[in-house]
């Protein structure tokens, strides 16, 4: 096991009607900005519950945060929040809204030139407005971590940043808010959480028994409970299990003390930035390719995954690995997620463009061994055309 630091101070309110806890959590704050998306929280009743809990507080609203939250949109919120002297940001939505709110929180206090530099030039976050979240879509884990991914449309960039200052003070997770989500968002959420886990698990063995066992068992929860949610959208416990699993998938626990990969995410971000494909769908395309091309390095962990998650074992290492890669792909397809670039109308000649964009980045060498070069990415994507 590697040395590590673990810190996660997010207070979680989990369960039915926990939105009511907002009223006490927000007592210390004077002016709250409620940040949300395109208005689904109005259709599913979450908006009304929030407003009831905030009765008597000074609240302004910023709506219209899009999937893959855009710098261009968020800067409007930053300007509004500064003008209105907002001292707390309340995100209500999925990972995009929460990620966007983290950017707003840091950008309000950013005193150098362009807040985008926190992403493009790794400028440090030195201060941030406090934030909290009401999660309505389990997927990204943003509700219980300190990172965010933001897109800048004008330059087709999708970049990540983070800071301990960006942990939500609290997050409310009410599984009932999931009932009205479109099926595709549930499926995307399952895949997103799934790949968060594999990025921290399917690397090389480092004798980290708790982390490996918890990663494998969390994948099994997604495999067992995800389809139950899709089959019966108002199965409370199945929704609750999916929501909690997605939160645990990226709150720092699984990655503590072990090598991590993240190449599937980095490649996926480029695909989304260029072609607008849903984040989770890019992951479903890329992951089987990474597993295949990197199978020699990942062999021990692919076999651990095969045995402990899917119950696949056998004499031949290679057969086991091929079988579990196929199984992974089948699982994504069973959720209704397509797994090839061509399924999303991405032409084969886009592969060079994606690789070229990656080659221009600081993190040009991806993977747990920092040896996934743009050339290897090309092999991966060619397999997934």
């Amino acid at each position: 096991m590697k040395n590590f630091e673990f810190y996660n101070p997010v207070k979680i309110y989990f369960g039915k009607d926990q939105v009511s806890k907002l009223s006490t959590e927000l007592l210390p704050y004077k002016k709250i900005m409620l940040v949300y998306g395109k208005g689904s929280i109005k259709a599913n009743g979450v908006y009304q519950k929030i407003m009831t809990a905030l009765e008597g507080k000074d609240v302004i609203e910023f709506s219209g945060v899009e999937p893959n939250p855009a710098y261009e949109t968020l800067m409007q919120a930053v300007n509004l929040a500064k003008k209105e002297n907002v001292d707390f940001l309340l995100a209500a939505g999925g990972g995009s809204v929460i990620d966007g709110t983290k950017f707003i929180a840091a950008a309000i206090k950013y005193e150098k030139e362009d807040p985008w530099d926190m992403l493009s030039k790794y400028e440090k976050v030195t201060d941030a407005v406090k934030l909290g979240a009401v999660l309505t879509l389990p997927a990204t884990g943003s509700e219980m971590n300190s990172g965010a991914v933001i897109t800048r449309k004008s330059c087709n960039e999708k970049l990540a940043f983070g800071s301990p200052l960006l942990f939500p003070v609290f997050s409310v997770l009410d599984p009932e808010t999931m009932y009205s989500l479109p099926d595709i968002q549930i499926a995307n959420g399952i895949v997103d959480a799934f790949v968060h886990i594999t990025e921290q698990y399917i690397t090389y063995p480092d004798r980290a028994a708790v982390q490996d066992a918890w990663a494998a068992s969390l994948l099994k929860v997604l495999i067992n409970e995800g389809p139950k949610v899709l089959k019966n959208r108002s199965d409370y416990d199945a929704n609750a299990n999916l929501m909690w699993a997605a939160t645990m998938a990226l709150n720092g626990l699984l990655g503590a003390g072990v090598p991590t990969d993240w190449s599937t995410h980095m490649i996926g971000h480029e695909i989304t930035a260029l072609y607008g494909v849903d984040h989770a769908q890019t992951l479903a395309v890329v992951l089987p390719g990474i597993m295949t091309v990197m199978k020699a390095e990942k062999a021990d962990k692919l076999i651990h995954y095969a045995e402990n998650v899917w119950g696949i074992s056998g004499a031949g290492k290679d057969e086991v690995i091929n079988a579990v890669i196929a199984k992974t792909e089948e699982f994504f397809v069973s959720l209704g997620i397509k797994v090839k670039l061509s399924d999303y109308n991405i032409p084969e000649d886009s592969i060079d463009l994606i690789c070229k964009k990656l080659a221009g980045k600081k993190y040009v060498k991806l993977g747990e061994n920092k040896n996934i070069t743009p050339e290897i990415v090309k092999q991966v994507l060619t397999l997934r055309k």
Copy 2:
């Protein structure tokens, strides 16, 4: 799954030489009291490492905190800390030292009559001096939770209390500090962590998939890694896995959203208070008895435990349950822990005394269904005589 709140802001520094991080963590504090036990930290070098990290700081020491930390001892530390205007308490040791330090932290700020009332009369902790920990013995999980158990010798009482104000600000977990522990302390630690998990797991099913899977897999880690530590005391990764598993066993995650039992602990505390038996050893005595007497209520979870932890399955429910109870007892014995009251020279007629003491407590009805009466405790202990 039940509604729950989860909050755990403890910062963990895990791994070799992480004690050096004390120097930055303690920057904000002026006067530090180092609290430790009987001096094993001087023999194993931890004391020297701490002092090196604290060079230039104003440090006073309080040593002599005993296993089952005593109110009588701790009040001396409270008086010293008040006199010296201590603003940070640094615990260095196992669960007893950390628990004791939590009591000191709250007692310094307690303004009513007797700080013992926080335990005996459930008086609320309203303020506490900040504390941190350097863990040297994995077992209780105190390094990453906000609870503590304190013994008052004068009245043979061992009681628990807790408050969010008593979370350590940070805890340093260096597995190398375990190398010099006596084998019996390692074995006790394994059993203590094991029973922390069963108390939150072997109750009744509530469709909490993550919690159940994580509990089962954490038990497997203890079963696999614990004996490795005992066999090769300087196997770094085995020590690291045991240390991290024990911390995860009682940091709030496993019990979030599920029913919890704690009857084994409550009965065990009475045995320790009356007869001075090591905490973990009381748990090893009581747990198989609770499993046996409560087997009808716990049947579904005992079967989950049998299948998922020990790989025991079969047609007959009763055979599976009996087999897994026997297996649990065998595991404790294999670690060198005795499992009967008579092994600790506790006479049969003590059972009535133990039950009488429990009958006088607010929590007279124990267990996840609050139906374990003193009469049932008598059955349990009679089985374990």
